[in-house]
C-alpha cells in the first residue's frame, strides 16, 4: 500500500456552496444482503443530502454499465478509476470500482472547478487504501457499515482539503 500525498490548492472561503458527497456501496458481498447498499456516506455541508443520495444512486447504474461493458475483454485492462460518470447541470459525479466490486462515488459541485482529474484520482486512491485498512480490522465484518474512526478522519480531512 503506497502513501499518496494529496495536494489541493487552498480555495476561497467564500465558496461555500461546495459539497463533496461520497458514497461507497457493496455489491455481491453476501447472498443475504441486497445489492448496492451503502457502506459509508459522508457529505459536507449536510443540507440537500437527500438529493445527493439520489444522484449517487442513479450514478451507480452508470457504474454498472461501465464495468459490464468490458465483459469479454481482458479484465485487467479496465482501470479502477472510472472517471467522470456523467455531468448534470449541478454536479459532477466520479466513480471508482475495485476488483472486488466495491464502488466509490464522489459527487462534487459543478461550481468547484479547482479539482482536477488527477486530484480526484488520488482521492480515490486514498479512499481505496483506507478502505483496505478497514477491511484488515479483524473486528470488521465485510458488509457492515463502516464505523472506523481512522477511515472517518481520513475522509473528513480529504473533504476539508477539497473544499
Amino acid at each position: 500500500m503506497h502513501q499518496v500525498r494529496l495536494q489541493i490548492k487552498g480555495s476561497d472561503v467564500a465558496r461555500y456552496s461546495y459539497s463533496i458527497h461520497m458514497q461507497i456501496s457493496a455489491v455481491l458481498q453476501s447472498w443475504s444482503k441486497p445489492k448496492n447498499y451503502p457502506l459509508f456516506i459522508r457529505s459536507v455541508p449536510i443540507q440537500n443530502e437527500l438529493k445527493f443520495h439520489y444522484t449517487v444512486h442513479t450514478s451507480l447504474d452508470v457504474v454498472e454499465e461501465k464495468i459490464s461493458a468490458v465483459g469479454k475483454a481482458m479484465a485487467d485492462q479496465r482501470e479502477l478509476y472510472l472517471g467522470l460518470l456523467y455531468p448534470t447541470e449541478d454536479y459532477k459525479v466520479y466513480g471508482y470500482v475495485t476488483n472486488s466490486k466495491v464502488k466509490f462515488v464522489i459527487v462534487v459541485d459543478s461550481s468547484n472547478t479547482s479539482l482536477r482529474d488527477n486530484e480526484i484520482r488520488s482521492m480515490f486512491r486514498k479512499l481505496h487504501n483506507s478502505f483496505t485498512d478497514v477491511m484488515c480490522n479483524p473486528f470488521y465484518n465485510p458488509g457492515d457499515t463502516i464505523q472506523s474512526k481512522a477511515f472517518d478522519s481520513i475522509v473528513s480531512a480529504m473533504m476539508v482539503q477539497a473544499s
Binding site: D133, V134, C136, N137, P138, F139, Q147, S148, K149, A150
Partner: protein
C-alpha cells in the same frame, strides 16, 4: 541435517500482514466463542503461556545469552534481544520501581495491532494479552515467576503501549505446572 544450523541464520521472513491478520482472526474467534472479554483475556494469557514455555528454548538456542545476573539484565535481554528477534521492535525499559523488582516496557508500535480498532462492545478486551502469557511462560522456564500485565494500550486510546512486569520470586527446580 541438524536444526541447529537453521537457528543460527536469520529467521525466514514472513509477511507481517499475514501475521497480524492471523492473530486478529484468532482473537475475534475467541470473542465469538466465549462472548466475554474477561474470559477471552484469560484464554489469550493461557495460550501465550503455552507458547512461552516452548519459545524460550528457541530463544536460548538462537541468542546464546548466558544466565542473567539480576532482574535488570533480564529486562534488557527481553527488550533488546527477544522482542527484536520475534516481533522486530525494541521496546524501552523504564519506570523501575524503587525495589528494582518491577519495570515497564514501552512499545511505540505493536505489530499485533496494525489496522485494529476495538469496537465499543469490547472495551475490556486486552487484545495483545497473548504477549503477557508468552513472557510469563518463558520466564517461568528459567525459574523466574513474574506477573505481567498491560498498563497502557494504544487500542484503548493511550499514546503508547506499556507492559508492566513484576518479579515475584525465584522458583525452585521443579517441574513446570504443565499445560493449564
Amino acid at each position: 541435517m541438524s536444526r541447529q544450523s537453521n537457528r543460527t541464520t536469520d529467521s525466514k521472513k514472513m509477511n507481517a500482514e499475514l501475521f497480524t491478520l492471523t492473530y486478529g482472526a484468532l482473537v475475534t474467534q475467541l470473542c465469538k466463542d466465549y462472548e466475554n472479554d474477561e474470559e477471552v483475556n484469560k484464554q489469550l494469557d493461557k495460550m501465550g503461556y503455552n507458547i512461552g514455555v516452548r519459545l524460550i528454548e528457541d530463544f536460548l538456542a538462537r541468542s546464546s545469552v548466558g544466565r542473567c545476573q539480576d532482574f535488570r539484565e533480564t529486562a534488557d535481554v527481553i527488550a533488546k534481544v527477544a522482542f527484536k528477534m520475534y516481533l522486530g521492535i525494541t521496546p524501552s525499559v523504564t519506570n523501575w520501581s524503587p525495589a528494582g523488582d518491577e519495570f515497564s516496557l514501552i512499545l511505540e508500535s505493536n505489530p499485533l495491532v496494525d489496522f485494529v480498532e476495538l469496537p465499543d462492545n469490547h472495551s475490556s478486551l486486552v487484545y495483545s494479552n497473548l504477549l503477557c502469557g508468552v513472557l510469563r511462560g518463558a520466564l517461568e522456564m528459567v525459574q523466574m515467576a513474574v506477573a505481567v500485565k498491560f498498563s497502557q494500550d494504544t487500542l484503548r486510546g493511550d499514546n503508547v503501549t506499556e507492559i508492566r512486569m513484576k518479579f515475584i520470586k525465584r522458583m525452585e527446580e521443579n517441574l513446570p505446572a504443565g499445560d493449564e
